[in-house]
Amino acid sequence: MRIADVLRLAKDHMVTSKLRTALTILGIIMGVMAMTAILSVSEGFGIAIREAMETYFNVRVIFVTGIGTFGTQECKLYLTDVEYIRVHMADVVNDTFPGVFGAVRVQVNSTYWTNYQLVMGSSHEKGQKVWPTLYVPLKGKIPSDVDKKGVVLGYKVALFLARLKFKTEDPAVLVDKTLRLRVEMPLPSTAVEGTDIASVTLYREVTVMVRAVLKETGVNLAGFDVDSSIIGTFEAVKEWFRPPEPTNEGFAQISARIEWRSGEVDEVDGAELKTLMEAITVDDETLWDRYVDWYNTRMADYDELASIIVVYAKDVDYVEEIEKRLKDYFEHTGREQAKVIALKAYARAIEGVLGIFRSLLIVLGVIAVIVASLGVFNTMTTNVRERVKEIGIMKAIGATSGTVLKLFWSEAILMGIIGSFLGVLAGWGAAWVIAATGLLKGIVAFGAVFTVTAEPIMTLEIAIWSFTVSLISTAIFGYLPARWASKYDPVVALRYE
């Protein structure tokens, strides 16, 4: 029989059993719709995350951090380490530079200062080189590294200050504005032990110029939340945090806050503090003497210290080797606590989790399609059982087994084609609705490392894939009953009641 005639007869029968056919097709539509929608959502997230990783996650970057905040680190990192890496790992390292972390308050008006804001001291120029897509101004111009007064603000901190200081929602207003920062240096508790003083915090106020506000990144690089940071040069930020020299001149630069054990609090200037410290004596030693001792210890290596070392690999393939060599180096220099973090490993971990997540989704989609195909199988089996006599008739009038097989199978395939096609359209629609209503357009935070915004994406590939998988599945599940039908002996089939 000609294919056209096979299809014509299949169509005639399907029209005869409209309801059953329609329900079976509906099953396929739902299965394929689910599959298509799932694939498009998965695709959307995949693309969003890949983009985010490519944009923000320079996988050639390796961080080395000590433990604890700057100045109180158990495991110290030095500029000599940076030099060592630059010289001894030149074969695999493109560039390396230090960074320093801290926290400051920002002046809002004459009496009000914000709570602590994150400060990062590093190289603007190298930051731009390593994160060309991340270190991008929303407004303003990234300053050069010789600009000691210039800072760059992360999007969120800029927005925060814009709201507080300028009562606007536009973070860009901060550009070219002067900010007054208060750097706080708490003295160690040992410095006031045995006195009526509970604690002393030294303040240094510095004035900076906002040169640029960054675009929102949503990225947190090894604890460095870019959007919430005030970024200056390494040298400048280190100067802000340098404890004052124990001289009149040194203390003239600072002021202090003294908290007494009684609960009283005094705000004093540097000269007053110095006088007070010289006046208080414990065990024949003034607090001033203690400060001098502490200062000398602290300053022994202050100029050499860094909070973080950024290492930029020549090629992403060298990352593992660099990681290993860095670990070996810090181990040999007695600092096995130093943390070596390769963004590539982060990226891998995230990709791994995402891969599992996506495979799971795809499995769900395939299950939906298989369930729909089971519907086809069920319908076709019922069909065959009801039409045994017809099989006998067809064979008696000269149909071969092959023709009978084609007649039944083509019904399953027709249902598969119609259902899969409409299912893809419905899935496309569902994806569109999800995107339009923002149903899934949420911010997904991945272990606070970075965040992405995703929405379903429908591609021709997904459409073809869903259609094909569903069609193949219905064809397979429809083939078995069709084959049973074709195997009936004509005499037996005609006698069937």
């Binding site: 029989m1 005639d5 008739i393 067809m394 009038i397 000269g398 071969t400």
Partner: protein, 261 residues
Amino acid sequence: MKGKGEGGKARGEEGFPLVKLVDVHKVYKLGEVEVHALRGVNLEVERGEFVAIVGPSGSGKSTLLNMIGAMDRPTKGQVFIEGQDITKMSDKERAKLRLEKIGFVFQQYHLIPWLPAIKSVEIPLMIAGVPPKERRKRAEALLHEVGLGDRMWHKPSELSGGEQQRVAIARALANEPEILLADEPTGNLDTKTGAEIVKLIRRLNEEKGVTCIIVTHDLEVAAAARRVLYLRDGRIVRGQPLAAKVGKEKALRPEEEGEGA
């Protein structure tokens, strides 16, 4: 074969009888029990004959018809259609033979319930690969011929028994078969309608030269045949005095067992 050329009946150009059965046995096995439906049937039917097969229920009439119509294979023996041993053919070849040379008519009409008359008649033409326009024309002509020119788009459920049987006959004739095999075609019909169907089959035999083999219980129907085979216990046996019972001398020529062999 001894019977060849005997009786001056029409033979194929090749000189073979149209239908020839040689010692055909059919045994159905139902578990332990063996049912001998046919026990050595020898038979020749020439082109253009009109043969009636009668016999008690269970005597093997339908089984015999299925052997001739290439629907089933004998347990033993040979079946020749135009000199070709169809027992040696593949299923596919047998399907082709049924399509081209044989038309079946059944007691229960066996129409496909969801197809209108015209499409039912078109199906054998579809299977044969006749293009749509041509087959529609032929199906229409056939339905006119069996007197259903005004019922072409009726489904079986919208037709009377006699009309359904006419559709079945039209369908059986679609590919211009050599042989029309009818298994109790009037069994489900009242006498008058049955007589009309028999008349139609007779006419086909006389006007178109279609060889007809009809299984029947109805002696009136048998009386219409020129030749009557009496089947009992799977054998063609000596003829019964049908004429006496029916009261018609005409055309009754019951055969003896193994006649012509």
